[in-house]
């Protein structure tokens, strides 16, 4: 399981699908069971500092939605970025493309009250999707991640199988879905844990395109 392998010459070795599953099996899992995919590759910028939320507000399509604990979409340099607003002074910006538009844009954003860090590669993103997804989370996370409590577009920071994770509720094709960000060095362990618990709930691994979050991340 290559988690996040990205090669300089843009030879992306990414699992598009897995042995033994085809498109219909993937769809069955997403709509009736549970599916797990690794998202990627993606770029990540981290905004820190007391001015972070204001900077974001000036970029967001809907500034009112930019609140701590939410995931919102933002237009940046002609691309759509998902922003995970952890706190007023700690915001993640994630983009699906590879590229370095961020550094140039980043200079504009730097001010005394805000700093911008390039964090690409620090985290791995997983997508856990399907009607059984909440049941799997219930076995590895002590906090309430049920769809009734954790609404679409919410992000929490909580332990998942014992390691700290950022969990966002992002549904897909009408089924409950979660995007999970973990530190890259704990990603393989998290994948293995989810698959181990997922066995009891019919979890299968799928390629990333099938489970992309509806808002694009």
């Amino acid at each position: 399981m290559i988690l996040g392998a990205r090669w300089l010459s843009d030879e992306l070795h990414w699992p598009a699908s897995y042995e033994g599953t085809d498109e219909s099996a993937e769809m069955a899992a997403i709509t009736g069971g549970a599916a797990l995919a690794e998202v990627g590759p993606f770029d990540e910028l981290l905004l820190r500092g007391p001015g972070a939320l204001d900077v974001l507000g000036s970029l967001a399509t809907d500034p009112r939605a930019a609140m701590p604990g939410r995931v919102v979409a933002v237009a940046l340099g002609g691309e759509r970025w998902a922003t995970w607003i952890l706190e007023r002074d700690e915001i993640l910006l994630l983009s699906p493309s590879g590229g370095s538009i961020l550094t140039t844009r980043g200079e504009d954003l730097v001010a005394d009250q805000t700093s911008v860090l390039e964090m690409s590669g620090a985290r791995t993103a997983l997508r856990l999707v399907g009607p059984h997804a909440p049941r799997i989370l219930v076995e590895v996370c002590p906090d309430d991640t049920t769809p009734a409590t954790m609404q679409q577009g919410t992000v929490i920071q909580a332990p998942l199988a014992g390691v700290r994770a950022l969990i966002a509720r992002e549904d897909c094709l009408g089924s409950p879905g979660y995007t999970i960000l973990i530190a890259r060095d704990e990603a393989a362990y998290t994948w293995e844990s989810l698959r181990a618990i997922g066995t009891f709930h019919g979890l299968i691994p799928v390629g990333p395109t099938a489970v992309a979050a509806e808002d694009g991340a």
Binding site: L46, G49, L117, A122, E139, P142, D185, E186, A196
Partner: protein, 962 residues
């Protein structure tokens, strides 16, 4: 055996078309789907299921609810399985416990005859002298003590799971009151979880033919039907989740209810708990009241109604309460033959119940006392003394104990409710006092259908939080109080004298032994419990708490109210530790280069959660390669913090005894951090990459602690600094050795000459096309470059370095080689060569203290330590011989320890055993001879060593600066 089964509709859980075979003690047994091990064995005529703990008396089914030790058996190598609540599975290999050679011929039942040598607290009195025989006593006692056997070669088929649930209301107990409360709360909008230890909801209703009154949805129906209706209503209610086969084992702070459900452990967070744990019958006290065939009425009814098993051919019911008469009628109704009912009272019930029993030819023996049972492996008769003083023996193979059930209050007590002694029923009941824990049903001492129903509905509303119901609560409590007041005060049955009247079935404690304990001075129930071990066995007081309290009260001549109850503690039911632990999910951290190490044949080691290569098969060769040409090691596990912002430099100055704000951009400085006591917390490096931008590295294991420490100092200050953990963002590798520059030069156009990239320089440029932060620092004593690169480029860079280094014989080296190399240079490892009492002065780091500034963490402490002078210091040593002392070995003088070895290794470079040790300052001088104790303890052999205060290898550091 056909006559042991009852025809339908008895056996509500039975699937008679499903035949399941299993074995018990090697003999083939058969049952139906839905049978438990105990019900199937009882139907097959197996009366004896186990031997008791101390006296090895034959025991059979007693409670049929998993609340006693009598049916503990071994199933498929798993010990202490409760046969009465465990379903049979095809091919199950079931073995009895605590009997040798066979269950029916147990040699150790001889102890039953020698009971006078095993009185209460015998281990304080006997088997002590003569002392020289103790090893023999111990060996024997250890073999016969304990219950069940652990087969270390087997792997029980247990897959523990854990679930974390959240609900507005948790209802413990799925009987009538619990179901009604749950339905009420859910109908008002609460999310509810109902926990019940049965396979189906309904509780006691499932074993009751009598008509139920109260709630219109079930009124007028027999209990068995009402149970099915309630179960259907609950499953149709989407807001209720039903945890069947689950036992709530404890209630904890913060509204946490813990449930053991098979191999799944469920942790539920809630705001309101409704307890509906019901009431349970307790055993009667008479001689030999533990014989197989003597059961609680509820057990006989469960076997009949749930599993269609006829527990005996000719039953005699013993009681002291109207409850017993109702149970006798239930036995008749389900098809059992009841020969007689023995009531200790002279005044009993009249009316329909009595007429029904008379119609079934049940003899009524009022005002009689039960003296004892007869029989060997099964009861054959019951001796009673009638009201006129004569003795009779009633022929019977099934003695049914049907005394008034006592409320199950353990969880209520644990949850903090106070218990009150209700004299009219002579039982302890919980007081409704807490807003977040509500009690309903028979556990409140009630038996009346309409009062219970009203209470359950009220509980549902209270749990939902529907406000303004103080008046409802008052009205209900008034009605309850009136109901109790209307009853005459119940006189508890007197305790008679007799032999082998068992109170505690788990530990074989008799009424006589408890009375003896009281005579010996253990008057308090708490101390008597600990002395006798009553309530401390697998049943945790379910069968014995009430009787023990009664016997104690009688022996002391005080009321039960005075005696009280013992403190209730979780777990309420024994739970395997594996179930509490849950699935084995232990975090593992892998670097971005993990697969490379795997294919290179690394020997793995654990460093905290990290997997690191210890070596690649040959530590000595790896060490030599670094000295002679070039080596490569993955150091991604180093903690890395990005510290940036206007006040970053000043903040780093504050945190350390040395300064960093004066570090030039593009330069590196060693860092060691202390706390305000002057104790070293951590070390690493600081590289200044920009005016307001620093890269701080920490030890592998200390990143979390350092991150926490830094955030704490920022928490209540208004410094403008951002600290970001970038450990996972960057992989890091160290290229070390005299040919390192040659390798590097092949992969970059940047100037990496000795002048272009000097010792302690920090630069950012591309290597093998990958952006790299390159730090020229040394830890292994040779020219070295620490390369930090984004983790997703790491493998590419690693491969490029290995390819470029091939012509120089580059070798991968692991943690072990690194440890040897750094030891040759006498570099301390914080946490190994230092501990929670080490300061920079003693650890030979005083050179980094820069005190000429107003304040920093540890300033005053370090000044104080300096003024006091050095006591112990860290110094290097080399052994005279070739033996390598253990890390932790003592340095001794005249037999007494004066220091200790913190690191020691064999250096292939020097051909010597070298190390670091803490020594008295006076001894830490070059060429001083010291003595090292090589072995363990006081008698180990000693060896000579020589102190060296300068690095063993390249003491002037020429190679590292080349």
């Amino acid at each position: 055996m056909a006559e042991r089964r009852l025809p339908e509709p008895a056996g509500s859980e039975l699937r008679r078309d499903e035949r399941i075979e299993f074995s018990f003690d090697g003999r083939r047994q058969v049952g139906f789907g839905g049978d438990t091990l105990a019900s199937a064995l009882t139907a097959q005529g197996v009366d004896v299921l186990s031997r008791s703990f101390k006296y090895h008396r034959p025991r059979g089914v007693l409670c049929a609810t998993g609340g006693c030790p009598n049916c503990l058996v071994e199933v498929n190598s798993e010990p202490n399985v409760r046969a009465c609540v465990t379903p049979i599975t095809p091919g199950a290999v079931v073995r009895s416990q605590n009997a040798w050679p066979t269950l029916n011929r147990d040699v150790l039942s001889l102890t039953d005859r020698f009971d006078r040598f095993l009185p209460i607290g015998f281990y304080y009195k006997t088997f002590i002298r003569p002392r020289r025989l103790w090893p023999l006593y111990e060996a024997v006692l250890r073999r016969i003590a304990g219950l069940g056997r652990v087969d270390l070669k087997s792997r029980p088929d247990l897959h523990p799971r854990k679930r974390h649930l959240h609900a507005d209301v948790v209802v413990v107990g799925g009987g009538r009151a619990g179901c009604l409360a749950a339905l009420e709360a859910a109908s008002l909008g609460s999310s509810v979880i109902i926990v019940d230890d049965g396979m189906n909801l309904g509780g006691e209703l499932r074993t009751r033919r009598r008509i139920v009154e109260g709630d219109p949805r079930i009124a007028g129906r027999p209990g068995t039907e009402a149970a099915v209706i309630l179960a259907g209503l609950v499953s149709a209610e989407p807001r209720i989740e039903h945890l069947g086969g689950g036992t709530a084992i404890g209630i904890y702070d913060g509204g946490l209810v813990a449930v053991a459900q098979g191999a799944t452990f469920v942790r539920i967070r809630t705001t309101k708990v409704v307890l509906a744990t019901g009431a349970a019958e307790r055993p009667a006290l008479f001689e030999a009241n533990d014989r197989p065939g003597i059961m609680l009425a509820s057990a006989v009814l469960r076997l009949a109604h749930l599993h269609g098993v006829r527990a005996g051919q000719r039953a005699v019911v013993v009681t002291d309460d109207d409850h017993g008469w109702r149970q006798a009628a239930e036995l008749v109704a389900v098809g059992l033959q009841v020969a007689a009912i023995v009531d200790s009272r002279t005044e009993g019930p009249e009316g329909l119940i009595v007429e029904a029993l008379r119609a079934a030819d049940v003899e009524e023996i009022r005002g009689a006392r039960v003296l004892g049972s007869q029989g060997r492996h099964r009861v054959t008769g019951l001796r009673v003394r009638t009201s006129i003083g004569t003795e009779r023996t009633l022929a019977t193979d099934l003695v049914v104990m049907a005394f008034r059930p006592e409320p199950v209050v353990t969880l209520a007590a644990q949850a903090g409710l106070t218990l009150a002694f209700e004299r009219s029923i002579a039982e302890w009941i919980p007081r409704q006092g807490q807003a977040d824990v509500i009690v309903v049903g028979r556990m409140t001492g009630l038996v009346d259908d309409s009062l219970i129903t009203a209470g359950a509905s009220l509980a549902g509303r209270l749990a939902n939080g529907t406000a303004g119901h103080d008046s409802d609560v008052d009205i209900h409590q008034t009605e309850v109080a009136a109901a109790f007041a209307a009853l005459p005060d119940r006189q508890p049955t007197a305790i008679q004298r007799g032999h082998k009247q068992f109170v505690c079935f788990c530990e074989d404690v008799t009424a006589g032994e408890l009375a003896q304990g009281v005579r010996e001075g253990f008057e308090s129930l708490e101390t008597l419990k600990r002395y006798s071990t009553v309530t401390m066995g697998p049943c945790q007081g379910k069968q014995c708490q009430g009787n023990a309290a009664q016997v104690t009260a009688a022996a002391r001549g005080v009321s039960r109210q005075t005696t009280g109850l013992t403190t209730s503690r979780p777990p309420v039911q024994p739970v395997p530790l594996a179930v509490i632990a849950g699935p084995h999910l232990n975090p593992i951290r892998r670097t971005a280069l993990h697969d490379r190490h795997e294919s290179a044949g690394a020997t793995w080691m654990d460093m905290g959660d990290w997997k690191r290569p210890l070596d690649y098969g040959d530590t000595n060769a790896e060490v030599r390669a670094v000295h002679d040409s070039v080596g490569l090691i993955d150091v991604s596990t180093l903690g890395k913090l990005d510290v940036r912002g206007r006040d970053a430099g000043e903040f780093l100055d504050w945190l350390h005894p040395s300064r960093f704000s004066d570090l030039r951009v593009g330069r590196i400085r060693y860092r060691a951090m202390t706390d305000d006591a002057g104790i070293i917390l951590d070390d690493g490096t600081v590289a200044r990459l920009g005016d307001d931008r620093y890269l701080v590295t920490t030890g592998t294991g200390s990143l979390d602690a350092v991150d926490q420490w830094l955030r704490w100092w920022l928490a209540a200050s208004d410094r403008r600094v951002d600290v970001t953990n970038v450990t996972a963002r960057f992989a890091a590798m160290n290229l070390a050795g005299p040919r390192a520059r040659d390798v590097l030069a092949q992969l970059t156009t940047a100037d990496v000459s000795a002048e272009g990239l000097r010792y302690l320089d920090a630069r950012e440029f591309a290597v093998a096309g990958v952006p790299v932060v390159i730090l020229r620092i040394g830890f292994v004593g040779e020219l070295a470059y620490e390369l930090h690169t984004p983790a997703d480029r790491a493998a590419h860079l690693w491969d490029a370095l290995v390819r470029a280094g091939a012509e120089y014989g580059i070798r991968l080296f692991g943690v072990e080689a690194q440890r040897v190399l750094r030891l040759e240079k006498q570099h301390a490892i914080i946490g190994q060569d230092t501990d929670a009492l080490s300061d920079p002065l003693g650890a030979a780091m005083s050179w980094l203290i820069k005190s000429d500034r107003p304040d920093f963490i540890g300033k005053d402490a370090l000044a104080e330590l300096k003024a006091r002078g050095l006591r112990d210091v860290l110094a290097g040593f080399e052994m005279v011989g070739t033996a390598v002392p253990a890390e932790g070995a003592a340095i001794v003088r005249e037999g007494r320890p004066i220091g200790r070895v913190t690191s020691s290794k064999w250096s292939p470079t020097l051909g010597k055993a070298i190390g670091l040790a803490w020594l008295p300052a006076a001894d830490a001088v070059d060429e001083r001879h010291i003595t090292v104790r090589m072995g363990k303890g006081r008698e180990g052999a000693t060896a000579q060593a020589i102190v060296r205060t300068t690095p063993f290898y390249d003491p002037d550091g020429v190679r590292v600066r080349s």
